[in-house]
Symmetry: C2
Subunit: 173 residues, 2 copies
DNA sequence: GCTATATATCTTAGTCACTAAGATTATTAG
DNA sequence: CTAATAATCTTAGTGACTAAGATATATAGC
């Protein structure tokens, strides 16, 4: 961490620091799902719904990587818990739109308060200039990870014998 | 993203950008587990083992938040696949140390190559000065998220029987 | 040295979320 | 009107999880 570290060592440190903090971020998300009493996949869907507002069941399957059958289960659970509503599309009655029940979904929001507080506290120690650099980095980083995820698919040489489901079932209770 | 965004708006943007990129990072990890043919929990344990080198089964349960019974299953699968070895502690024969089989574990490493390449490409666009700022931020951020995870436990108001053990915020290394 | 208790891991039974395949219902094309 | 297509749901089977308890070993008190 000395300010004289070589660039290579700096990158090494950066890599580890980012891995560590992102791993901890994942844990926070899991902790939120746990205290909210819903599974990780359900939480992923809620996150996406909060961004998009109103999407079809098929689209949820697409973005989560789950099968449509699994999504039916996700929606069943979320609907039963009161977080979302099913709404049939009147113009194409095969489609089912899922929309967030705001009042109920807001209950989950409070679990993110500690995280937001920590972030704001953290950011207060940085200048606008520095925050802009961080923003640029986060945006560039997003693109980089996106590319890497694509590239990873080209690396696949493992026999497709046994591919494990993308989402780990994190059952509660 | 204009350079004269107000500080509040800047923070808002930063929050979203970081959420997006970290979510994509999670997906990358899942994709790696998927192509490697092992489950997410198994991958979590491999990550931890790669940092620590050699830990007991109980410690793995502790850091992953899984029960010892579940860990037995994790180790069974990893051992069968050749990634780890069980080694009974000679001085306390109740304990079972789990150690990584380096040659085999290295096979997983190659799935991180696209990610590392993307990161190095990304970083090459930044000065040493800027990278040091990013490092400081990543380290501060880690601490912040750690605190937030702790604080989250204080927000809990859901009935305890609906909850599941939180992953402990342990210090990786 | 014995006995009780504590510690570390493994086993068992039951549960839940997942996949794959196919059923159901609605739309569109010929 | 029929066939093909599309979107969601249903079913059967599987894998990973938890809770509780079994097993094996270690430590402390007498």
């Amino acid at each position: 961490m000395s300010s004289k570290t070589s660039r290579a060592a700096l990158m090494q440190e950066l890599e580890e620091a980012m891995r560590r903090s992102s791993a901890q971020g994942v844990m926070y998300g899991q902790a939120v799902a746990n205290v909210a009493g819903i599974s990780n996949s359900d939480m992923d869907c809620m996150d996406f719904l909060n961004l998009e507002g109103r999407v079809t069941a098929g689209r949820l399957a697409e973005v989560t990587g789950l099968t449509t059958g699994a999504i039916t289960g996700v929606i069943d659970r979320l609907e039963k818990a009161g977080y979302v509503r099913r709404e049939r599309d009147e113009s194409d009655r095969r489609k089912v739109f899922i929309s967030v029940v705001e009042e109920k979904a807001a209950e989950i929001g409070k679990f993110y308060v500690p995280m937001q507080a920590a972030m704001h506290k953290l950011w207060s120690g940085y200048t606008d200039e520095e925050l802009r650099l961080l923003l640029r980095f986060a945006n560039d980083g997003y693109k980089g990870v996106l590319e890497a995820t694509e590239a990873l698919k080209g690396v696949i040489d493992t026999p497709p014998e046994k591919r494990v489901p993308l989402k780990s079932p994190k059952s509660r209770r």
